[in-house]
Amino acid sequence: MEKSTTLIYDGSFNGFLTAVFTAFEERLNVADIQTNNKGQSGLFSENETIFTNVEKAKRVWNGVRNKSHAAISNIYFAYLSEMEGIEILLFRYIQKLMGTKSNKHLDFSDDTMLRISQLARSVGREKHRMEAFVRFQLTKDDIYFANIEPDFNVLPLISKHFRNRYADQQWLIYDVKRKYGLFYNLKGVELVSLNLNEIHFNKIHKSDAFLNEEYDYQTLWNDYFKSTNIKSRINKKLHTQHVPKRYWKYLSEKKETA
């Protein structure tokens, strides 16, 4: 049996791309690609630790991108799904992609391709949802603050949207699940991690981190949401299909129901 290798990387996207680079360069027979905190070694494979190298990562990125723009964004989106085993799936995808001359990513009848494009689509959907469902609350220090808890790691994907839109206000979007956030300080966006002693859901109880005016606007928005509804057309099922219940606790218009 041919010897196979499990690549261990640091959990960053660049790290993953470096692993792909190494595998191609050393012509490895890859058994799996795992993050270093998992540490399950395979029975029949050797471990090799990958040191993230931005240059190498870039070469993979550019190589794939030259092949197909759609594929590179599919890969990045699917990666952010954080699905168990996503790395090895993506590796196979890249192998296939680089091994063909034609636009392989367009072949929707191939299983790996289909899976990747489905995952990318789910992540894309979550990105759009977050762009829509983030609800800022204005703090006393003049920062528009929002908590999110997305299924996938979409913060890197939504940064640009919020930076373009809210260029003249300070804002902070915090992922409570992954414990990091984006802070825009009127010049650029930085990564932050916070010691939140309280998660600011939109709850009835008021926090003194926010101005009173903040709660006035939430009430107005709430009222607006109610009065814009046409009772004779009610369709709750359709409603929850669009706004899945797991997001409700962050939406101020859903305050009473959550």
């Binding site: 204005l138 107005l220 009065s227 509804n229 046409i230 004779s232 009610i234 099922k237 409603h239």
Partner: protein, 420 residues
Amino acid sequence: MNFERIREKLNILADAAKYDVSCASSGSTRKNSKNGLGNSTGMGICHSYTEDGRCVSLLKILLTNYCIYDCAYCVTRKSNDVKRAAFKIQEVVDLTINFYRRNYIEGLFLSSGIFKNPDYTMERLIAVAKKLREEENFNGYIHLKSIPGASDELMYQAGLYADRLSVNIEVPTISGLKLLAPDKKHEDFTKPMLKVKNELLRYKNERKIIKSTPKYAPAGQSTQMIVGATNETDKDVMYSATFYYKKYHMKRVYYSGYVPVAKDDRLPSIGSQVPMLRENRLYQTDWLLRFYGFAVNEILNNDHPNLDMDVDPKLSWALRNLQHFPVDINKADKHMLARVPGLGMLSVGKILKARQFRKLNWEHLKKMGVALNRAQYFLVCDSKSWERRDLDAERIKGMILQNSKGKFRKQYSQQLALFN
């Protein structure tokens, strides 16, 4: 901010505005300039959904619900006994900005009852938009209602600040209009439409020569028709819609099932059901006309003046035109694929790409998300099994309906998932 006062106004003026269904915030791009506030990306975001499943993307309010007119179908009509209120210009500006900054909305949709006269009202709507753009440096979406009867000069100004302008035609037929809105003339609606269309054309031509020509209503104009208030047929509605699309270059025509708001012999009584399924069928038809290459007289004509309620209009057309089927999925051109029931444009695109690599069979189609329940009777693919029986339209329809109970009932949504 006088919170209680604003709160009361907002309740009254949002309630009165909700019957306007056009909520789209798409089709316009405005870049954030000079680190100002907001942008429009052309995509349009639904920030929430009402409990009846409609998209909430704009703050949709009336400037006032005082009105000098008495249109029978409208809650705001003069003779209706409702609470009246009016926003100050600055109040609307503040609400918009504060909602926008919290990521509640994509922008503002401002309409109004007519107070004093059409021009006086239109001037105030424009003043709100102008303030938002020039004082607040606001680049979000603004949709202004063109007040029927407003002057050309004002319609010109409105387009300088708004992304979209709309006049609601409301009643699809001229006879219906006479009956229900006796104060209004047909020209009151069409004159502002014509002005906007001409300005749009003029700006487009100028932009070809001078790149930096400022924007004029970049998201174009739209209109809305109420259906089910008079006894118009679906043919009346869709021929009317086609006329407005062609003659005034409408971006969208919206169809709004009449919600009874008045006791009036001329109208369906209060408590009558809102014709939501009919509304949905009209939207599907609209879609077929705009994106699927159908002509209106293929779908609606004197022999067939109303849409089927039990099946969607494409399926209904296919059943009446079985001579065009079955279609070979591996050979047919885009135009014909688009006509197969159960195939949306998205699937058509995927099929065209995927069949460059291999011949497609049922399994492939299923994976791509084709609604085979409907499509199977109209297709052949790379498979020995296909519908060989020479079924007549009634049989096919019966079999499809049998396998899709409930599915069709779910299709009350007007704008989403029109064809899956």
